[in-house]
Homo-oligomer: 344 residues x 2
C-alpha cells in the first residue's frame, strides 16, 4: 500500500510500504477512506531531524473494516469505523475511568510498528476497545464532521471539560487552530456565556465566531493580556491553551482569573515553564489537561454530529488525495489551510 512518510522536517513523501496484516487476534485491518493532517503533525514538520526519519504520519482516520482477528467482537468486515488518536483496550482501569490515553496496553498511531492514519490502510490493535462503528457510508456528507471525532473535536471538548466549563462560564481560548476553534464550539455546547478567542487570522476567528466566540482578541503578549483582562472584568475563570508552545502558556497564565483554571490540550513543545508564586501558585491557579481520551467522548459527541447540532467539520478548508499529502502539509504550515482532509 502507499502511506505518507516524513523523512525530516519539511520533507514528506508518499511511498509504497508493507501492506498491514493481522498480528494479534484482537487486531482489525481497516481500509482508510478519510484521514487528515493535524496541527501537532506540524511540530514534526518543523523539527524532525533526518536521523530520526523516515517516520509514518497521521493519527486521525475513518475507514472500512476489511478483516478482523478471532477475538474481535464489536466490528466486522464492511463496517465503517472511526479511530480515536490513541488505541486502547477498553477494559483496563484507566479505560474504565474514561482515560483511554493512559491505557495500560494502548498506544499511539505511527509509532512502535503501528501504522499511521495518512495511508491507504492500517492495522488497528485492540480493535474492540478502539474502533467505533459509524451509522453512515464512507461518502456521506457528514464524514468531515465525523472525522473530527478522531481528535480535534474530542480534544476541544476535553479542554472544556477539564477546564470545568459549564452554563454561564467565561472562557478564553488561546489559539485559533482547529483545536482552539473546536474548544470554542465545545465551550459553547457546554453553555459558556462569554468566550474570548485569542487569534489573529481573520478567516479562522470568523469561524470561531460562528462556533460561538463572543469576543476576538488579536493582540498578543502584554497587550493581549490587558485586553482579555479588560473584557473579562479582571481575568478569565477558564483559559484553554490550544497551541502547545510556551508563549501560549505564558499568555494563559497572564489572562487567568485568581482561583481559575488553565486547561492545556496543545501538546507542549517545552518541558519546563513557570509555575511558581508569580504565575500559578500566588492566586491558586489550577493547571490541568493532557491528551484527550477521544475514545471516551465519541459516545457523547456522536449524536450531536449525526443530528447536525454541531458542525465541527467546518474546520476542514482543503481536501487532497493521498498523493497530495505533502502539499497539504505545506499549505497548513504556510497557514494557507486551517486543516486538510486526506482521501486515500
Amino acid at each position: 500500500m502507499r502511506a505518507a512518510l516524513m523523512y525530516a522536517a519539511g520533507d514528506v513523501r508518499v511511498e509504497r510500504v508493507a501492506d498491514p496484516v493481522l498480528k494479534e487476534s484482537t487486531d482489525a485491518l481497516v481500509r482508510i477512506t478519510a484521514a487528515c493532517i493535524c496541527g501537532s503533525d506540524l511540530h514534526h514538520y518543523h523539527a524532525l531531524p533526518a536521523s530520526a526519519g523516515p517516520v509514518r504520519m497521521g493519527h486521525e482516520f475513518i475507514g472500512v473494516v476489511e478483516e478482523t482477528g478471532a477475538d474481535v467482537a464489536s466490528v466486522r468486515p464492511g463496517d465503517l469505523v472511526v479511530a480515536p488518536f490513541a488505541y486502547s483496550d477498553g477494559t483496563c482501569e484507566f479505560c474504565r475511568a474514561g482515560l483511554q490515553t493512559s491505557c495500560l496496553h494502548g498506544g499511539f498511531w505511527a509509532r512502535d510498528g503501528v501504522d499511521g492514519g495518512q495511508g491507504e490502510a492500517a492495522r488497528v490493535p485492540l480493535a474492540d476497545g478502539t474502533l467505533v462503528k459509524l451509522p453512515v457510508g464512507p461518502d456521506d456528507a457528514l464524514i468531515p464532521s465525523l472525522l473530527t471525532l478522531s481528535d480535534v473535536l474530542g480534544t476541544g471538548h476535553h479542554a472544556a471539560v477539564r477546564g470545568g466549563v459549564r452554563r454561564g462560564s467565561t472562557v478564553t481560548v488561546v489559539g485559533d487552530g482547529a483545536v482552539g476553534l473546536l474548544a470554542v464550539l465545545a465551550s459553547k455546547r457546554l453553555g459558556a456565556e462569554q468566550i474570548v478567542l485569542m487569534g489573529r487570522h481573520t478567516a479562522r476567528t470568523d469561524l470561531g465566531r460562528a462556533f460561538g466566540a463572543t469576543d476576538v482578541v488579536a493582540e498578543r503578549g502584554a497587550e493581549g493580556v490587558e485586553r482579555v483582562r479588560e473584557l473579562t472584568g479582571g481575568g478569565s475563570a477558564v483559559v484553554i491553551e490550544a497551541v502547545g508552545l510556551r508563549p501560549a502558556y505564558e499568555q494563559a497564565y497572564g489572562v487567568v482569573r485568581p482561583g481559575g483554571t488553565i486547561s492545556r490540550v496543545g501538546a507542549p513543545q517545552y518541558e519546563e515553564a513557570p509555575i511558581g508564586f508569580g504565575s500559578l501558585f500566588g492566586h491558586n491557579i489550577t493547571l490541568t489537561g493532557g491528551p484527550a481520551p477521544a475514545r471516551a467522548y465519541i459516545d457523547t459527541l456522536l449524536p450531536d454530529v449525526m443530528e447536525g447540532r454541531i458542525e465541527p467539520g467546518r474546520v476542514f478548508d482543503r481536501g487532497v488525495d493521498l498523493g497530495g499529502t505533502p502539499e497539504g502539509y505545506r499549505a497548513m504550515d504556510a497557514r494557507e489551510a486551517l486543516k486538510v482532509l486526506v482521501r486515500p
Copy 2:
C-alpha cells in the same frame, strides 16, 4: 513594643519597635498572646540577604483586641481573636468566593508597613474581614490547636480540599513538616482511606501515623517514587506537596497516578519546573493549590477543634517567650523542633 526582626539569613533579633496605632477606621489593635514560627519563615532564615533586612516576621497569631476603629463591628476590646495568615476585607468578589488570599484589598503580615505576628502587638487591617472571635480565654488548653487555624491547619485542609480528597481516597503527602502532618490529619478528616506520608524524621512520621497516615515512606528520589507506586498500586490519585522546594515537586509528579492531582501548598521557592509531556501533560495530571484561604476554613474547622475531634496543636513540640524567638528559629532550622509556639 518588642518584636522579632530578621536582619539577614540566620540572624533574628528581638528589639523595640514602634507601638502600633490605629491608622484606618477598619483597623483593630491586638495584643498578641500566642504566635509561632512557620516552616515558610525558614525560607527567609536560609536566604534573606542583609541588604533586604531587617524585616518583621510572623504571620500566625492569637491575641486580645485592645482598640478598634470606628467602622469595626464584628469584634470589640477584650475579645480573644485568631488571625489568618492573610488579612482580607471579607466583601470583595474573591472573599465572597472563599479565596481571601486573593482579596482585592487584602495583604500579608509583616510587609508594606503591616506588623508581623512575632511581636507583642499588631495593627490588624480590615479587622471585620480578618479576625475571628474565639470562645475561650487566652490561657485555655486549646490555644495551641486554635493557633493552627491561623495557617498550618487551614493550609493542610486546603491541600486536601484542592486535591479533591474524599471518602475512600488514596493520598500521598510529600513532607513531614507541620503542614504535611496536618495535611495528613485533614485528609483523614475528609475520609481518605490510604494516606502515605513521605518523610524520614521518625518523631514526625510517628505523629503523622497518629494523625492518620497508613504508610510511611522514608526513601526519596527514584527509590521513594518506586516505593509509593508499589504501595498505591501504580501511583497515588492525590499527591499533596507540602514543602515548596523543587525536589519535593519532582517527587510529587513521580508518584502521582495517571489522571491524578498534585496539590501544592508549600510556597514554591522556584519559579520554573517541569510541566511538559513527561511530567504532567502525558497522563493528564492536574496541578493545583496555592496560599490557603485560612480565613474561609476557620468556620469549617473551629467546631472540630473546640470539641476535641482533632488535635492539630500536637505539632507544637516546643514553646518560647518572645525573647526566645531566635532560639526557636535555630531549633526549627536544625530540625530539633517541629514547630515552635511563641508566647509574647
